[in-house]
């Protein structure tokens, strides 16, 4: 043949999109319903990831605010399994360690705090009575919400400062109230705010060391030492603490870092999400099946259109591409709607809990990727069917 070779024209991307969208425009209700399946799946996954990230972000910020340079020193057990004691001089020894900026101690006092002497001794309300050094509040970076912290005068007097939980349990919301401790009345001079790094202080009633020794029979042995050092020296300080605190029996000293608990909670914040993420994935899969179903029906219904397009000169590949584009558009629609819904759910939930709303960028990228994969998989088989249809059969379809 002497004639020019025939090559089918290529469809530009905008034409592919137009033909793909044309099929969707004529059936809006069906499009909405099948996109909804994808949207629910994507929204679930985005919300699960977003909420757990927001919660982790909240913990990380809290950690940042509280600092990670606080160590607590407590007595362990003796080699005979008895409760060990920290030496009376322990606090002074800790303060002499170079990088240590502040150190304070509390000592458990063997008594109870009650609203009045009429309340039985056994009703302690889970509140510990502790002797505290006057710089404890500074070391813990805690805040007094009512009244004042112990000072040089009040630490030797029958005055008590209540932790936030202790005050709540005793039902005390103001200062100046008398409480029964040991065998005498003490006056509440202050109430503390929350202490996320030292929750045991929240549950304590604190008196000065001299007062505890004088009125409550306290033996002067600290039971917890709180210590803050330069951030970069924490590990070094931690290494020398046992021998410094108790040179004779360093093995009887327990050192811990309260911020580790928060960090562990932050790390654990993502753990429960795997199950929910799996649920989202199942929803997404079901949505994909819905899209595939819609596409198969669409191909069956539109055999005449396929025949017409073939008669207009569409190649098999172009018919396949059209239906693939339609399927991709359909699931992309669901994906975008789902991402928006998931984002809104995250923001709503995070704000209601007072967390900073965070959705990781990779979650959105993953959502886009997932919808593209779903759209392709769902559209592939219907598109192949459409392309395989013979033009004469397609045109004869009723």
């Amino acid at each position: 043949m002497t004639r020019e070779r025939l090559t089918p024209a290529r469809l530009g991307p905008s034409d592919v999109l137009r033909t793909g969208a044309a099929g969707l425009r004529t059936r809006p209700a069906r499009v909405l319903l099948s996109a909804l399946g994808i949207a629910i799946g994507i929204a679930t996954m985005i919300a699960v990831l977003g909420i757990s990230s927001s919660s982790r972000e909240q913990l990380m910020r809290q950690l940042d605010r509280l600092g990670t340079n606080l160590l607590t020193i407590a007595p362990g057990q003796t080699m005979f399994g008895e409760q060990a004691k920290l030496p009376v001089e322990a606090l002074g020894m800790v303060r002499r360690i170079g990088p240590v900026r502040t150190a304070s101690a509390t000592g458990l006092v063997d008594t109870t705090i009650r609203r009045t002497d009429r309340i039985p001794k056994a009703v302690t309300g889970g509140i510990a009575v502790q002797a505290a050094t006057s710089d404890l509040l500074a070391t813990l970076e805690g805040k007094v919400v009512k009244g004042a912290w112990l000072n040089a005068a009040t630490e030797a007097r029958p005055a008590v400062v209540l932790g936030a939980t202790a005050a709540q349990r005793l039902g005390i919301g103001r200062i100046g109230v008398q409480v029964w401790m040991g065998e005498r009345w003490f006056t509440v001079v202050g109430i503390l705010g929350p202490m996320p790094l030292a929750p045991e202080i929240e549950r304590s009633a604190l008196v000065g060391f001299p007062a505890a020794e004088k009125y409550l029979g306290f033996d002067g042995h600290p039971t917890t030492i709180y210590e803050r050092s330069a951030e970069e020296a924490v590990e070094a300080v931690r290494a020398v603490l046992p021998r410094t605190v108790n040179p004779e029996n360093p093995e009887e000293v327990t050192v811990s870092r309260p911020s580790d608990a928060l960090a562990a909670r932050a790390a654990a914040a993502g753990a429960f999400t795997n199950l929910l993420l799996g649920l989202g994935a199942v929803a997404l899969l079901v949505g994909g099946v819905g899209v595939a179903n819609t596409m198969v029906i669409s191909v069956l219904e539109r055999r005449k259109e396929i025949g017409l397009r073939r008669s207009l000169g569409a190649t098999r590949g172009q018919v396949r591409l059209q239906f693939l584009a339609e399927s991709l558009l359909l699931s992309a629609l669901g994906g975008v709607a789902g991402a928006v819904l998931g984002g809104l759910a995250t923001v709503g939930y995070a704000l209601s809990r007072g967390w900073p709303p965070v959705v990781p960028a990779w979650a959105f990228a993953g959502a886009v990727g997932a919808t593209l994969v779903i759209g392709t998989l769902a559209g592939l088989y219907p598109a192949m069917r459409a392309a395989r249809l013979s033009p004469t059969v397609a045109l004869a379809a009723t």
Binding site: L6, P8, G12, R309, R316
Partner: protein, 268 residues
């Protein structure tokens, strides 16, 4: 579009074409048909005569079992599906009994989509669609959707879609089959004008009036051509519009508004 080659005057060239469908139905039993450029040909025959099969072969929608089909000089047998598609896009226009218009799209976009597979950019497609609609007398209906138009207007939109790319050959399959006389007259008028302007047109019909109207009638029966005045006869202008006479006389046409497609593919 394709330039005429001097040694290739035939737009349609069928030689000893047979078509046997799976199952053994012999739809065509040796057809020879030559159509020159500029002819208006009716391919007429009763149901089951094989005229639809003939349309599919001329339209390169199907391939012959034996024999040669050459459209615009291209031997269909030697072309893969991709190239056949390109042939249809550039050299053939189709008009169907059922219009096959996209319901949600304006007349302009329906016609413009006829050029989608020719590689024409969208703007040009729209311009040429507007021109084609003007040509079929629907310049005032560009934005109308199919359901807002009468049957005759819809079929004229379909004709405009078929001729928007100026194909050398227009194939019309029962173009008035779903229309009343007045609407049929509109469509025949458009075909006459296109023929006068030089388009080669093959009308497949079982309606004897339309067949008579065409200057050249190829009669098909039982898979064979039983009467054909020969190539070139279709260059003459067509006779008086039979549908217009009918419409004036108030006689309902033999092919009134028949919703179900008439079984023209009875050979299968």
């Amino acid at each position: 579009m394709s330039a005429p080659l001097p040694e290739q005057p035939y737009v349609v060239e069928l030689r000893e074409v047979t078509k046997v469908y799976r199952g053994g139905v012999r739809a065509l039993r040796g057809v020879d048909l030559l159509v020159e450029r500029g002819e208006l040909v009716a391919i007429a025959g009763p149901s089951g005569s094989g005229k639809s099969t003939l349309l599919h072969l001329i339209g390169t929608l199907d391939r012959p079992t034996t024999g040669t089909v050459r459209i615009a000089g291209y031997d269909v047998a030697g072309l893969p599906d991709r190239e056949l598609s390109a042939l249809r896009a550039r050299h053939l226009g189709f008009v169907f009994q059922q219009f096959h218009l996209a319901p949600g799209m304006s007349a302009l976009d329906n016609v413009a989509d006829g050029l989608l597979y020719t590689g024409t950019p969208l703007r040009t497609r729209r311009e040429r669609a507007a021109a084609a609609l003007e040509r079929v007398g629907l310049g005032h209906r560009l934005g109308h959707r199919p359901h807002q138009m009468s049957g005759g207007e819809q079929q004229r939109v379909a004709v405009a879609r078929a001729v928007a790319g100026d194909p050398p050959l227009l194939l019309a399959d029962e173009p008035t089959g779903n229309l009343d006389s007045a609407a049929g007259a509109e469509v025949l008028g458009v075909l006459r004008d296109l023929h006068a302007a030089g388009t080669t047109i093959a009308v497949i019909t079982h309606d004897p009036e339309i067949a008579e109207w065409c200057p050249r009638q190829v009669r098909v029966r039982d898979g064979r051509v039983v009467a054909d005045p020969g190539a070139g006869a279709g260059r003459r202008p067509p006779g008086p519009n039979p549908k217009a006479l009918e419409a004036r006389a108030g006689v309902p046409g033999p092919a009134g508004r028949v919703p179900a497609r008439e079984a023209t593919g009875g050979a299968r």
